[in-house]
Structures are given as C-alpha cells and as structure tokens.
Symmetry: C2
Subunit: 338 residues, 2 copies
C-alpha cells in the first residue's frame, strides 16, 4: 500500500534517482522530464515517506519541543512563539511530552539517542550540571528554555530579580507581613523566586518567616493549578493576623487565590508571576515573563545552531517587568468594586 518512488519512476519511465531529484528539486533535470514526473507524482498522489527520507538523508526536517506537561499556560505561550518563528522555515514541529512521574533524564536521553529530530528545545526541564553535560555528548542541537547550562544555548528569565521586584514593591508600600504562594516542586525557577522573595525581605530588614511561604495540597500539574492556588490562599486566610500582601509564583495559581479571597470577602494585595494573556483582562498584577518572545528567540538560536554547530553559545536572560494592575491595590481602593 502507498505509492512509492518506484511506482512513479516506472510510470514516468525514468530512474528513481531522477524522480528523487525532481521531488527534492536537487540537481539539474531536463524540464520536460521534470514536468512529466511532477505531473505523475501529483496524479498518483505521491509524497515521500518521512521515515525513508530521514533514514537515507540522515536529516529529519523536524524540530522537537520537549516539555514535561503540555497542558500548561506557560508552555502554550512559549509554543506560540516557537510556532510563529518556525513558520518561516521548512521544519516541522514536533511536541514531545515527557512524563513527569518517570525518570526525566532517561526520557530526554532516549529522545536524543533515537534521533527523532534535527534539533531540540527543552522547556522547563531541569537537570543537574553533570546531567546536562552528559547530554552534550550526543552533539545534537539543543536549546534550553527556563533552565541554564553553560554548554547549551539558553533563554531565561531572571526569576530572582522578578520575585525581588514584586516583594520589594510591597515593602515599599509599607507592608510587613508579606506571604508567598509557592509550588510543590522544587524546580529551579521556584527556588530562584523564593530566593528573590527572601532577599527583598532581608534587604528591607524584615525578618523571614517560613510559615509565610505556602502551597496548596493538590499536586496536579506540580501544583501549578487554580485549585492549588485556591488552597494556598485558604491557608493564608486562616492566619491571624492576615498577611498584608502576597506574592504568588504563578498566574494560574493566583486565579484560584483570587477566588478564595472573594469568597472570604477579604482582599490581600497580590502580585503574581507570568503575565498570561488572560491576566491583563482579569486585572492581575504580575511579573511579566516575555513567554512568546522566549519561544521565538529559542527557535532562532536553534536554527542557527543546526546551521552551524560551532557557533558560540548564546545565553539570553530577560529581566522581567512588573505589571501593576488591580490585584495589587490596597484593600480600600478596590473595596468599592469588590
């Protein structure tokens, strides 16, 4: 089943080499021959089979994006940037989801060894220094987004700075008891955000209280869910006295937190992290990660590296910008609309 290069070679009365040449538009072919082949290929509905081409040419015209969870708003925005950037090129996009409850490293290594793609973008996958280093030996084109290693091109956000800025904003407003909604997993970004939060308190002479860092109990999506944020805020609302303000490590969690506050009829000024498209519309103050741009730049880096693997390694670190909207306002100022 399926029609092959042999079928159309026979029909056109030429060799398969010639067919291959016209299909790929490589090498000189008499225009008459070319037309005949093209016509037949079209009529017979011929398309080269991806696997055979990949094997023979040793090129897979595919870019693989590797993520731990696909259904995540952060990835979605990064993916949008990758997609748009890639649409100017002939590569196909292949999104591969590695399972977060299994050995991430083994899965990543497996992908590299199986050589499924020409280049890889790893998003939010965190490995130790040695592990990243050991992946280097597959000498594949790889770009890391949301993690860092000196041997690979990478695109990052200065998480510590972002968290610092958010926390500092609250300090400047005169708040003392500043809580933080974290996430279950000790991923590098979360660790960095906690560092920034602590540093801001420290610089302001406010004593750090570990009880003020909370997370919900739901472990779905590593705690990056509305529900988890809702649970986390419930914990904060049970404190007496209430926190003066709250820094939340992700927008999606903040949506849950906002609901918990609304139900309780209480408003604690909140700044969160991400700046998803919806955040602007629901008035969420947040530390903006340029997600779309991150995907776009990562793709550029990858394309360049595929082109020339000797190219100097590039690292981009974005300094996130704080977007102040309603959610960080003082309780009084929004009480009229709450």
């Amino acid at each position: 089943m399926g029609i092959t290069i042999y079928d159309i070679a026979k029909a056109a009365d030429v060799s398969i080499a010639t067919v291959s040449r016209v299909i790929n538009d490589t090498g000189r072919v008499r225009s008459k021959t070319r037309e005949k082949v093209l016509k037949l290929a079209d009529e017979m509905g011929y398309h080269p089979q991806a696997f055979a081409q990949g094997l023979a040419s040793k090129k897979k015209n595919t870019i693989a994006v590797v993520v731990p969870v696909i259904s995540n708003y952060f990835f979605m925005e990064v993916l949008a940037g990758i997609q748009d950037q890639l649409s100017n090129h002939e590569y196909e996009l292949n999104i591969i989801n590695i399972k977060s409850d299994e050995d991430l490293f083994a899965q990543a290594e497996h992908l590299l060894k199986r050589q499924v793609a020409e280049g890889y973008i790893f998003i939010s996958i965190h490995f130790s220094d040695e592990k990243w280093k050991s992946l280097k030996r597959y000498s594949k084109s790889i770009v890391i987004v949301d993690d860092w290693h000196k041997d690979f091109d990478s695109v990052n956000v200065d998480d510590k700075h972002g968290a610092y800025a958010a926390t500092k904003h609250f300090v400047d407003q005169g708040y003392k008891k500043i809580a933080m909604i974290s996430a279950l997993e000790n991923s590098k970004p979360i660790i960095k955000r906690i560092e920034g939060y602590k540093k801001a308190l420290e610089d302001s002479g406010i004593e750090f209280d570990e009880n003020l860092i909370v997370t919900g109990d739901s472990s779905y999506r590593d705690g990056f869910s509305e529900k988890n944020g809702y649970q986390a805020m419930k914990k904060l609302l049970a404190m007496d006295p209430l926190p003066d303000a709250c820094f939340s490590a992700s927008d999606i969690k903040s949506i849950g937190a906002l609901k918990a506050m609304k139900e309780a009829g209480v408003h604690i000024p909140l700044i969160s992290y991400d700046n998803l498209a919806i955040s602007e519309y629901i008035g969420l103050s947040t530390v903006a990660q340029p997600m779309y741009e991150m995907g776009s730049i990562a793709t550029e880096y990858l394309l360049e590296r595929i082109d020339n693997n000797d190219k100097k390694i590039s690292h981009t670190v974005y300094t996130p910008e704080i977007k102040l909207r309603e959610s960080s306002n003082k309780p009084e100022s929004i009480s009229s609309t709450e």
Copy 2:
C-alpha cells in the same frame, strides 16, 4: 556518529538479528546471550533509531494529533485527555500544527501520505463531506474531534443544543434582546451555535435580529481571543438600548467581554461556551464541553481502530451541560459586588 545495532552486534559477537531480537524482546534468545547484549547495549548507550525502525517495521509507534493552532485553551484541555489516556500505552505523542492560513486539506493529506504516524486525531479541522471521504482512501486510522463524517470515528458536542440551552435560559428569565458574540470564522461549531441560538429565539417567538450577532475585529486565532471578545462587547455596549443578555461562543472571548463590561460599569448577563478550568474560578457561566473526556475517548477509539481497522465506526456526541455561575446573574443581584 551514533552507535548502531552493528556496533553492539560486533561487541557481543552475535548477529544483528539477535541484537534486534533482544532489544525488541521478540523471539526466543538464550538468556546468557540476552544478558550480554543488554549489558553492552546499556553500556554503549544504544537506542534504536526511530526512522530506521519505522522504515523496516512499517510501524511508527506514534500517534499524531493534528490541530490548527496549538496555543488554544480548548485544545489544551483536549490534549490533556489524550495525553493521560495515551500514557497507558507505548505510543509516542506527536502534536502537529497545520497552518490555518494555508490549504488545510493539502496539509492534512500531506501528513497522511508521508505516513508519519500510526494513527491520527484531527481536532477542530473542518472539511467538506467529499474531502473527508477522499482522505478515507489512505486507509489510515483516523479519529475526528469537533467535526463529523460518517466514515470516521468521531467525538463531538451537540453545539446546537448547547447554544439553544444557553439562549433558552435567558428567554426563560424574561429577557428579550439577547445578543450573541460569535467568532470570525464560519467553522462548523460556530455555525451550529448560531443555529441553536436562532432556534431558541424562534421557539420563543422572539424575532431574530442579525445585528445582535457580533464579533470583534481582531482576527488573531480566528477571533478566539480575549481581545476579540472585548471588542465585541464594546459593540454591544454601544447599542441603545443595551442588550438584556448575551450568549458568547467561547470562554476566552468572554473574559474580554467581562472586562469591557466592568470598564463600562455595566453588567449584561452572560453565558459562554467551553468551561475552561479557569472559568469556574472567575465565575463564568458557561456551556460545558467535556474537553478532557473528549480527548480521552478519541484516544480510545483510535487505539481500537489501529488494533482492528474493520471495527465498526463509532460516533460519540456529548450533550453539553450548562453551568450557571455569577456571570449570568441579573445585574441587580451582583451590583453590590461590581
């Protein structure tokens, strides 16, 4: 570069056939031989190359999910269902994004011809009857989500019914001037939703006014964006008198619409469509599509079809359920919190 089956055959002093057998765990192999091979394969870091395996075995252990836009909340939820269902199987997931500004059919056909996967799930891709029929000849395992054709397994939601129910709810509340926020594209679901909306008005003896169906000007993501919803609501807010209520064709658009109303200090009861995870948290009344379940069922269908292509064709049509939350309330009842 890359180590192959030959390398480990040589090292283990066996034939490549034997190596293949132990790697794939097919056929009887003396346990001593097996162990030796396994050990070497592990040490030398061997993994079969996907392309070579695919060519030789004519099996690609990959499922392709084909979508017009990846960064879309509806797909994300459906994908979550697919992912989870697939995680019980050995297939790899491959998400392929076809470009909505090019010939969708040609792209779909291309994928089928290139034989990139063992089976395909097409999500929200709408073709005419003849086009679907013509895809049938590739005799690939295909499941359609969010469209329908008699020759393929499919998973759908009764859009007409959903829109009818939402509109009818407003009629029952005594509203007469009921607007609808639509989307740019004339996709089948939107057409069905408009039908349901009209039917509900008709059944209630309310005259249909085409000016009450609006959409925004932003064409990003075919109009399924916060911004477009915001623009659409602005148009409704410019009407005099204002509409009594509004049915919106998607949650993401409703988020924009909600903002427009808030800015104007006006509340028009709103019911929308989808029931994204966030909708519950922001109090959005909506017609719930069981997106996760749709992905899950579609995956089951596909797996069954791959297993047995003679299997009878299955169609599932969900009757969506209406979730009433704050956004559909009467203006008075929420004025205290607006």
